[in-house]
Symmetry: C2
Subunit: 128 residues, 2 copies
């Protein structure tokens, strides 16, 4: 994924001077439709595959698999498979994942707190 342009790489200042800071990394990891929801659900405790699926309405089996795998690769989620019949797989947040969950919770709080203000802004914007 190159940026194609020749001059793009020209100036990329300090940690946050004019550039993107580390935010891009966070977005690449959590910007998809489900990762954050999985982290939030796991913040409540250990969950099995099926439990996650039921707890997150609308997620497909495929996306749950992909999402947990990515989160596992990034070291945010830990997977434990019990060789029972039927199979039983548990997912839990790592310490790393928990530290992130705290921040996400704040974002959720912000969203709930300011939802009315945003709604009002939209209504205002749409009516003009």
């Amino acid at each position: 994924m190159s940026v194609t342009n020749t001059a793009v790489t020209a100036q990329v200042t300090g940690p946050c001077g004019d550039d993107d800071c580390g935010i891009r990394d966070v977005l690449d990891r959590l910007g998809d439709r489900w990762s954050v929801l999985v982290v939030v659900e796991l913040a409540k405790g250990v969950r099995r595959f099926r439990e996650l699926e039921r707890a997150i309405p609308g997620i497909s089996q495929r996306m749950l698999t992909l999402t947990t795998k990515r989160l596992g690769r990034d070291g945010l989620v830990e997977r434990t498979a019990h060789a029972t019949i039927p199979p039983q797989v548990e997912y839990r947040l790592t310490d790393l994942g928990r530290s992130l969950a705290g921040l996400i919770t704040q974002l959720a709080d912000w969203s709930r707190e300011h939802a009315p203000a945003i709604e009002a802004a939209r209504t205002r914007w749409d009516s003009t």
Copy 2:
């Protein structure tokens, strides 16, 4: 910021028993590729269209227009057009936008702080 703060996330449950909490709203608003970067840049001060474009490497004119428009509609960004020649349009965060920028900054900090840990986790995962 400590990594092992398990107490923080102990009770995320609140109003979101099994459901999506307010996080979905946040994702729908900031989950795209550019919104967060624009907010971060505007957190540094007032910016003109061209300044934003130069400050955010890789963004296209089209996406900058779309993004600022959406953020404007949501009441996070304010637009001020001066009828000069050449035209001059200023963007700045609203109070609402600034309150969000603070949280985003924390996310960026988290990302920078834990980037090595994530990188290590990936290397570990890929090698097994």
